[in-house]
Subunit: 174 residues, 2 copies
């Protein structure tokens, strides 16, 4: 059921050795590129990284980016710095969600990583072979999920209930 | 096929008079709230607006926000201003994409609208009954699509081909 598929996407941070094929990468990028964006600007470019040395270098560029080093392939999301940052990052989130949902539909695991702070964003951008105005703030790990580890995840799981999230707008008179 | 469903989401800006039911709104919000976010912070709140007067006021708060006035219901996406703007907007894009894909799976049309510039973001936030640190930069129209209009859309359609979007990372020696 489609709602369950979309709702059921969870981050995968530990991957098996089974490689993700080129056709699968192409398939998820095909879905990513059809995401909507403000004015249909599509302010994104995709850098596909498989090199283990490069993945290790990227994996230290954010506090929670370690999973990049164990991925079969990482898609770096470059955003256009000439577009307002709010639009560009919102749109990048849309494309990233399309990408990860497509991966999920294909049985792959995924997880986004943020590069932070700004010096690390510049480093990731350079490692991707890009320069201003392109900015690489996010990398998305892809791979087949490994069996779950023991112990508690570092990041709390679950979600706030709808009752906490839905706010009634002010009542209007008349 | 799931990839086709995800890929096939398009913006709907013109809606019929058929109202979107409460259960459908709940269903799409249920999917939105399960989107991932940096550190699982879920830096979002949802304000559900049906009041026609309020929708008209919101619809003038962005150059491309006119469709809000014709929607059956609008979900205003409030983001947490205490979270870095890059993270908050990226995460909001993820939640918005989940919401719109869920709507699409239910046969509903949707379209996001950005409030801009900053004075209009403040106005939208106030109309939503919220205040800092919450910031309402995006509203998502929901409704049943009306039959397509004549003429060309204001925003160019289609998408850049993958060959334009995929960049090879630099080759590594050794």
């Amino acid at each position: 059921m489609s709602l369950e598929l979309i709702k059921g996407l969870r981050a995968t941070r530990v991957f098996s050795d089974v490689p993700v094929g080129r056709e699968q990468v192409r398939a998820v990028l095909e879905v990513a590129r059809w995401a909507g964006s403000a004015r249909n600007r599509q302010p994104w470019r995709f850098v596909v990284v498989r090199d283990q040395g490069l993945l290790r270098e990227l994996s230290v560029l954010g506090a929670y980016a370690g999973h990049l080093a164990g991925a079969s392939v990482v898609v770096l999301l470059a955003v256009d710095g000439t577009v307002s940052a709010d639009d560009a990052e919102f749109d990048a989130g849309r494309a990233a969600q399309n990408l990860m949902l497509a991966a999920h539909a294909l049985g792959l695991g995924s997880c986004p990583a943020s590069f932070f702070p700004a010096v690390n964003v510049r480093a990731a951008t350079e490692l991707a072979g890009l320069r201003e105005p392109w900015r690489v703030r996010t990398g998305i790990s892809l791979g087949y999920p490994a069996p779950p580890l023991q112990g508690s995840p570092a990041i709390p799981q679950g979600r706030l209930p709808l009752s906490d999230l839905v706010i009634e707008p002010p009542q209007r008179d008349g």
